[in-house]
């Protein structure tokens, strides 16, 4: 994804992602943070890339991956602004983000996508290849390189700071 594309996307856009993305969730983020603190390298170049907050179920024989839906993004909020400032361009998860993350998204012209939570079997069909590239000992929480084709996501927070969770919920609220 190019920086221009990220900036053009708007909250509410339905997007199909094709290409390479990387998985990392709680334990992997903790390790990446520790690597940064010690001046060590990260397991993949974050600049211009997309992180998918996801830990899959094991793949059956002949399949690239098992069930592969998003996990709650807010648990990664603590680590996210630093990664965005290093050039991370996109994140795929589910659920609300902290103000500090929103500010870092705007500051860096990035984007936060949601995939449908609890649709892991359906989403696994858009994953064509998966390879563990770091932290193998973390099991499901290892960092994986995924090749995806037409992976369906929705833009939730765009580079202008619009948040679909706030606007769409307000639209249907009738209390």
């Amino acid at each position: 994804m190019s920086g221009e594309t990220a900036k053009e996307l708007r909250a509410g856009d339905y997007v199909y992602i094709t290409g390479t993305i990387y998985t990392a969730r709680d334990a992997a983020h903790k390790r990446m943070q520790e690597a940064l603190e010690q001046g060590g390298p990260l397991p993949f170049p974050v600049q211009g890339n997309i992180i998918y907050y996801m830990g899959p179920s094991p793949a059956r024989e002949g399949r690239p991956i098992g069930s592969a839906g998003p996990t709650t993004a807010s648990r990664m909020d603590k680590y996210t602004p630093a990664l965005l400032d290093m050039g991370l361009l996109g994140m795929i998860g589910k659920g609300r983000r902290a103000e500090a993350v929103k500010e870092a998204i705007v500051r860096n012209g990035a984007v936060y996508f949601a995939a449908v939570g609890g649709a892991g079997a359906l989403l696994s069909r858009s994953v064509t290849d998966a390879e563990v590239i770091a932290y193998d000992d973390l099991g499901t929480e290892a960092v994986r390189r995924l090749e995806v084709k037409d992976f369906p996501v929705i833009v939730v927070i765009d580079s202008e700071g619009n948040d679909l969770y706030e606007t769409a919920i307000e639209e249907y609220r009738s209390e």
């Binding site: 094991p58 839906g69 949601a114 359906l122 919920i169 307000e170 249907y172």
Partner: protein, 280 residues
């Protein structure tokens, strides 16, 4: 006295872990299908249709419905005339979980120590709740619980003066705070009464009730219906992206409590509200 070999318990729990994670009970499947018909938001409708497709793919291709195949919560309702033979029951239950999760391609999501956080690599131990019942049967419920929604669950120690309004506010507060994080449409399990731990257990057990089944206590049933309607007016909607389907059911269990208290627990579950039941 009826004797049950614990090997039968292991075999059944192994199968139930795999079954619950690939096939949603019919009540939940129907509730999702009905919601797709009535949802007002176009995006919400699309998400509900995706969830329906997801269930179909999960069953046909044997891919877990959700990658978070949960921590195994197991209710063992044991008739007092049952005698278990062949080993320790708890070991047999955990062995069933171990076999189900390792042989059934389910995710191992349990860490052995909550602070040191090393994965046990076989999803054990389970969280097991034992209950004594009359008779010589054993009713086993396997309810794998995902933590996206578990993390959004709450216990409120209300005062008697907070009354019915306090209970309603507690339920709405928990649901709104959960919002998009809990993978709506949710099932909301509520426990009212008892003590601190009893209300949490009531709420957990309420989640195992079939989605279309209402409380047999008239004022509790009324509260369930009112809360479902009010929750669906919050606008949270499918995926938390706006809509009129925020919850599929509100199941409330109650228990006597102390003159000084009104404990309320709200255990939130996503639409993948898994429960498999067998009677031995």
């Amino acid at each position: 006295m009826r004797t049950i070999d614990v090997a039968d318990v292991t075999r059944n729990i192994r199968e139930m872990c795999i079954e619950a994670n690939h096939f949603l009970a019919q009540d939940m499947e129907e509730a999702l299908r009905d919601a797709a018909q009535t949802e007002a938001a176009p995006l919400g409708k699309q998400i509900l249709c995706q969830l329906r497709d997801n269930l179909k793919i999960a069953g046909e291709d044997m891919i877990p419905i959700c990658q978070d195949t949960g921590m195994a919560v197991i209710f063992m309702e044991i008739g007092q005339d049952v005698h278990f033979a062949g080993g320790f029951l708890e070991t047999a239950v955990n062995e069933g979980v171990r076999q189900g999760y390792t042989e059934g391609y389910l995710r191992k999501s349990v860490v052995g120590d909550p602070l040191l956080r090393e994965n046990t690599k076989d999803n054990t131990p389970a969280v097991i709740h034992y209950e004594m019942t009359e008779g010589d049967r054993v009713r086993i419920t396997v309810a794998p619980k995902g933590f996206g929604s578990e993390n959004m669950s709450r216990v409120f120690m209300l005062k008697p003066a907070d009354g019915m309004e306090g209970v309603k506010n507690a339920i709405l507060t928990a649901v709104k705070d959960a919002g998009p994080n809990a993978c709506p449409p949710m099932v909301v399990g509520v426990g009212i009464g008892g003590t601190f731990e009893k209300c949490a257990l009531l709420a957990k057990k309420a989640l195992t009730r079939p989605a279309g089944e209402r409380s047999s206590i008239p004022h509790v049933r009324k509260l369930e219906e009112e809360m479902l309607e009010r929750i669906n007016r919050t606008g949270i909607g499918p995926g938390g992206l706006g809509g009129t389907t925020t919850a599929l059911a509100v199941n409330i269990n109650t228990y006597p409590t102390h003159i000084a208290g009104l404990p309320v627990a709200v255990n939130i579950c996503c639409h993948v509200n898994r429960h498999a039941v067998r009677i031995l």
